[in-house]
Symmetry: C2
DNA sequence: ATTCGGGATTTAAATATTTCAATGCCTCAG
DNA sequence: CTGAGGCATTGAAATATTTAAATCCCGAAT
């Protein structure tokens, strides 16, 4: 794994206090005193598309807070099948399973330019003991991951292929902050939906012919959410 | 909802201290002093097959520890589609989302005779503040639910119908403590796998003809796990 | 501007799944 | 014992998806 940049200019949590997206991250409820308990360095890291934060089966000792970008969690079966089981974006945590001492359940692969903060498990565990202000944040994120997984099953793994593709596009659109959204490759979309690349392509091509989906440069796209929802969900 | 029995003979946590399956439940790490902090009644409840612990969208104020039996979590979509997203059994928690103040994400429906203990959310939250001994148990259960959901996606919602049915049977078999296991209706199995009742039936019938699956009375069944795994996964 | 390479899209044929409509089978109430 | 009701199973036809094999298209590099 090639890590592009690790910025350790600030030791400990000095920078955390001034983090621009602090209200979105795990540490949002910490007090100033809590921050002073953080003596280990929290690395600010950047990953290129295609790089992995960690591999399925790897023994990881950190949790990652996503500051920017999109990450796919890929799970492999013994027989070689693989499935994307979740997408992570700003404010989500990757590698939660490390808090239970488990090895990674998935490959965590960056889809675009990703910025994360790496939080050592030992730090999280110590903070949990010393301050109650972390709990709710952790619980919330766990719960969000779980309901995300449930939705993945109900919305993205149920029904006809076209319907699933429509639901995925709607989900990507909703998750995006601007008018447009990141459109994964057809192969990745297929792996999210449990259908083939070709079936995915057929659906997106159809939506495009209907004017419900427009591709812009750079993996970005736009949909007519109303109409798509109306006609295909 | 018809609740068969609520046994409140013991107030507070007196009975918890002597619970036969305490090592499996959320309170396993509590100390004797911790138990003395429990002043609210913890109801011991029993449900018949088909009864619901709660409904999707319902505002629930308790978490349920499963002592015995099997529960399906059913999620409904606006368009009427529905999917079973998880099965809960001994030691699992139902209604975790109530800890975040959310309404229930699913219907929790009993598949067989179910025994649960009902833990008020307010109790959990207070204990969380007063003792650190609950955290790990909670974290562990959240994590178990999450990796269960991931597996549900990767193993039960991916691949051909026959393969999914085989994987479900293997999973039911593994989860069981004895040689046999609870075999749900074909309809429920279909709802777990995202396929039709008929497709499920065709698969189980085929396994039965091959001698890999045998039905015993009362929803119980046996499989030749080795062979099933070998030939269909 | 031109070429190259990697996705994306298409098509037709092969499979798989769903639909729909009958039976079949088992249990339980009477 | 017997019939009724509720699942389960089966078969055939209608659809949907996958497979396999060409193109097609677009952006990056020359």
């Amino acid at each position: 794994m090639q890590i592009d940049k690790i910025d350790r200019a600030w030791r400990g949590a000095e920078r955390c206090k001034h983090c621009a997206i602090r209200h979105l991250v795990l540490f949002s409820d910490l007090t100033h005193e809590d921050f002073d308990r953080i003596h280990q360095p929290i690395d600010d890291m950047e990953f290129e598309p295609g790089q992995r934060l960690y591999y399925q089966g790897e023994n990881i000792s950190s949790v990652y807070t996503i500051r920017a970008g999109l990450i796919k969690l890929v799970q492999h079966l013994p027989n070689g099948d693989r499935r994307i089981v979740r997408l992570l974006s700003q404010g989500d945590l990757a590698g939660l399973e490390s808090l239970n001492g488990q090895v990674a359940d998935h490959d965590a692969v960056c889809l675009d330019l990703v910025q994360v903060c790496r939080l050592p498990v030992s730090l999280i565990q110590r903070l949990q003991k010393e301050t109650p202000n972390l709990h709710q944040g952790l619980i919330n994120r766990w719960q969000k991951a779980l309901s995300g997984a449930d939705n993945w099953i109900t919305r993205l793994s149920t029904g006809k292929a076209r319907q699933r593709v429509a639901r995925l596009l709607l989900l990507l659109d909703q998750a995006s902050t601007d008018d447009f959204f990141f459109l994964p490759t057809r192969e990745d979309m297929g792996a999210m939906l449990g259908i083939t690349t070709e079936s995915t392509s057929k659906a997106t091509a159809e939506f495009r012919r209907l004017g419900l989906l427009k591709k812009l440069g750079q993996n970005r796209a736009w949909i007519d959410a109303e109409a798509l929802q109306q006609q295909f969900c």
